[in-house]
């Protein structure tokens, strides 16, 4: 059994930032990740990261308070205001720190970090590195972590690349470690730790049309959920307005921030025809833009009557596209055969982000002592019912830092986790589950369950929802969960070395659990707020629904409770842009 004071699961931006913070607080830390750190999905973020840096000529009057207000308003008042303020106040410090560590941001003429306008923001406050902001942030943070790893003596900072975490170890009500599989050998390993953090990303793969990578299955949400940690506000799913038709690869909001147009079959900038987007037009918040795009397509004004619209960048000109959006051009040419310099891009809204997640307080602590969570897998909540573009990258580095610091304090006061029988028991339980999975070669089709889940979510739990469809979706997901118990391993078991059949099955089980919470939360919430829109309840209902959904796992299904929203400076008002 290996021992580290702190273990961080996930080596994306939130996990790496937490590990750096733990190291700087003299805590011996290990980072476990199912993929090499630079493959983590944080890198797919394109457009940028928000902070009131005041570097843009039109951003001189910006402030963390204004940034917090935009965040809260964008959240349709479901965000916890003190947490949102905490994030925006720390934002400039964390972003400049990333710059100091080498992040190659794009620059203003004065040589400062460049900023661009983004949806729902009062000022141009989205710092960026062309359209590859996630990529450069992740590489920079990994470089910083490697520097600390190389400088560390006596294993103060250790990476376990390609370790697949399967379960938590809990002893006397405290999280004291994890059971993981070393993917290259297929061997189980038990890790003891004084505190554990999950920074494992979102569950977007429950949808057929998602921008998320293939590892975004919500496994890191399902594991603590099965140990009694509630999932919060799962019904709030962000649908990004512009994903590439066909593959649903992200086309950054930066395309519109830089001046791109959304047009319908008649070549018209249709956002002008809807009162909630008529003023801000293409830089309206994501929930509003996606809804109006969906309405436009339902009215038959999709391109050629099909289920997509045009994102037109041609008027920006070759020079600006090459300077600001080169990655978008590459992706569009490789995956859709379209060059945005000469042709408009075919786009449609697609699943992009989960506002909900593991319920934590504003220090990333959960109800389970010793267990912390940060990044997209959590719900603090700073995004409420709708996240602003550029706030997710920000959440990772701010709350990675805060969570790492909180863990360090916890470890100092709670002391070392004792050895106990819980470790052997947890390993034995995992071993039994794995043997069952790989031994079952006859049974329900893995591919069929996965595909049915994805299509159900896309068809019935998408931008416009109603009771009938949600009821149907809930019974389908529950039926799939039953079938999943008899899921067959595709082909025959084989050795455990890089056995993706096992990982896929564990991912699918987790994705179903997360999907059930999304549907159950959406069915209960008889109002429309942020990204959650009910055709049968089209108005926001603060009297009854200004509250957080909390899903507890009970008898295999979510039992829903509600929690208070922490208000602050701003009373709920109608959102107007």
């Amino acid at each position: 059994m290996k021992y580290h004071q702190a273990i961080v699961i996930g080596a994306g931006l939130a996990g790496l930032r937490a590990a750096v913070e733990l190291n700087q607080n003299n805590i011996k830390v290990a980072v476990l990740s199912r993929v090499h750190p630079v493959r983590s999905h944080s890198l797919a973020a394109q457009g940028g990261i928000n902070a009131a840096l005041r570097n843009h000529p039109r951003g001189k009057a910006d402030s963390p308070e204004k940034h917090a207000f935009d965040t809260v308003k964008g959240s349709d008042y479901l965000a916890d205001q003190p947490a949102a303020l905490k994030m925006t106040q720390e934002a400039p410090l964390r972003i400049r720190e990333m710059e100091n560590w080498g992040c190659p941001f794009s620059r203003t003429h004065e040589g400062l970090i460049a900023q661009r306008p983004f949806g729902g923001a009062g000022y141009p406050r989205t710092a960026y590195a062309t359209d590859k902001t996630g990529h450069v942030l992740l590489h920079t943070l990994y470089e910083k972590a490697v520097q600390l790893e190389q400088a560390s003596e006596r294993e103060n900072f250790v990476f376990y690349d390609e370790y697949f975490v399967i379960d938590l170890v809990i002893n006397e009500g405290r999280c004291v470690g994890v059971v993981a599989m070393e993917m290259a050998s297929g061997k189980l390993e038990v890790f003891r730790a004084d505190a554990v953090m999950f920074a494992t990303g979102g569950p977007g793969r429950m949808y057929a049309n998602t921008t998320n990578g293939l590892i975004s299955t919500g496994l890191g949400m399902a594991i603590p959920y099965r140990h009694g940690v509630p999932l919060k506000d799962m019904e709030f799913i962000q649908f990004h307005p512009t994903t590439l038709y066909g593959s649903n690869i992200l086309m950054t909001e930066g395309c519109r921030g830089e001046g791109g147009f959304l047009t319908n079959d008649e070549g018209e900038r249709f956002l002008a025809n809807y009162p909630d987007s008529a003023v801000a037009m293409e830089v309206s918040p994501r929930d509003i833009t996606s809804r109006n795009m969906a309405k436009e397509m339902l009215a038959g004004r999709g391109i050629g009557g099909k289920n997509y619209l045009h994102l037109d960048l041609r008027h920006l000109g070759e020079k600006k596209i090459m300077a600001r959006l080169p990655g978008i051009r590459d992706i569009a040419m490789n995956f859709a055969g379209v060059d945005p310099i000469t042709e408009p891009l075919p786009v449609q809204p697609g699943q992009h982000y989960t506002m909900g997640g593991i319920s934590t307080d504003e220090n990333c602590a959960t109800v389970l002592p010793g267990f912390y969570a940060a990044g997209e897998c959590t719900c603090i909540s700073v995004h409420g019912a709708n996240r602003l573009g550029g706030n997710s990258l920000l959440e990772t580095i701010v709350f990675g830092t805060i969570g790492g610091r909180a863990m360090a304090e916890y470890i100092t006061t709670a002391g070392a986790a004792k050895k106990s029988k819980a470790f052997e028991e947890a390993e034995a339980k995992v071993e039994k589950e794995l043997s069952e999975m790989e031994g079952r070669t006859e049974g329900e089709s893995f591919a069929e369950i996965k595909e049915t889940m994805e299509n159900t979510m896309t068809e019935k739990v998408f931008i416009f929802r109603d009771e009938e469809q949600l009821n149907e979706a809930l019974s389908t997901i529950q039926e799939l969960k039953e079938r999943f118990k008899r899921v067959a391993f595709p082909g025959s078991g084989g050795s455990r070395i890089f056995n993706f059949g096992l990982y896929n099955i564990m991912d699918l089980g987790a994705n179903l659990d997360a999907a059930e919470c999304v549907v159950a939360g959406a069915l209960n919430r008889t109002e429309s707020r942020g990204s959650h829109f009910r055709n049968d309840y089209p108005k926001r209902d603060d009297a009854n629904w200004l509250k957080h959904t909390l899903c507890h796992l009970e008898d295999e299904h979510p039992r829903i409770e509600y929690g208070e929203v922490t208000m602050g400076l701003w009373e709920p008002k109608e959102r107007k842009y």
């Binding site: 493959r39 941001f105 003429h109 290259a184 096992l502």
Partner: protein, 245 residues
């Protein structure tokens, strides 16, 4: 249009197989199908044990580099109809040990990355809550270089790496150039010393395979030549009579 493709894949499970062998799978064709789509079809439907790395499926994470019908490419951004009319032949990177099937053991690749000290070594301490300034022109020196995803295709396609496994290779040398070219970094000489070695940058034979195959169209050969020029200039500056005492 073809209804079915054959995926011929090099299989190797170190626990079961004495040596690698090819196995063929039938894959139904759909318009726009990528090599990664085909691999996922096999893994989900036919053989869950088939091993290959994948994350983003959008050409940005660098996981799925492999040898596809005659050259190294990313499986996710390669359409099957662009490489073949009926069969897709896949094997892992060849200059690294096979961990399983299409997965290479990249330990050696990451060791070389670590060797060049891939982090910013700034000349002056940062001010509290302030960025180092860098002009747009200085920042432009980093264009393209910073797009590197460390997919490893350049190093795998490098014929020098094939004959000298200690050679640092294009990816690590490009990373060295990324910091040396950064106006904020001040450790040029230390880094040049690290790569001015027997298995360092002089091993480059200017074959340009790395540039030809880079999925991000980066030019590592150009960066290596630029680093060589820096070393020559440094040598000349310090070895002329009018140089130092």
């Amino acid at each position: 249009m073809r209804k079915e493709y054959t995926f011929k894949i090099l299989r190797y499970d170190p626990e079961k197989d004495r040596k690698p062998h090819y196995q063929s799978f039938p894959v139904p064709y759909q318009e726009g199908m990528t090599v990664l789509d085909g691999l996922l079809y096999i893994q989900y439907n036919l053989d869950g044990t088939l091993a290959f790395r994948n994350v983003c499926r959008a050409g940005v994470c660098g996981s799925c580099s492999m040898h596809i019908n005659g050259r190294y490419r990313l499986a996710c951004e390669t359409q099957v109809s662009h490489v073949s009319r009926g069969s897709v032949v896949l094997r892992p990177m060849s200059n690294l040990p096979i961990a399983k099937d299409l997965i290479s053991d990249m330990t050696k690749f990451w060791d070389k990355y670590r060797y060049i000290q891939p982090w910013l070594i700034a000349g002056k301490p940062a001010q509290e809550n302030a960025e180092y300034t860098q002009s747009p022109d200085e920042r432009a020196n980093l264009d393209l270089i910073i797009d590197c995803t460390l997919c490893g295709i350049c190093t795998q396609s490098c014929t020098v790496t094939a004959t000298d496994e200690e050679y640092l290779g294009p990816a690590a040398l490009l990373k060295a150039e990324r910091f040396i070219a950064d106006s904020r970094d001040s450790a040029d000489f230390e880094r040049l010393d690290l790569i001015d070695t027997e298995h360092g940058l002089w091993k480059c034979h200017t074959i340009y395979n790395c540039q030809l195959l880079c999925p991000k169209k980066i030019n590592p050969t150009g960066s290596i030549k630029s680093l060589q020029r820096r070393i020559v200039h440094r040598y000349l500056a310090y070895n002329q009579p009018s140089g130092r005492d």
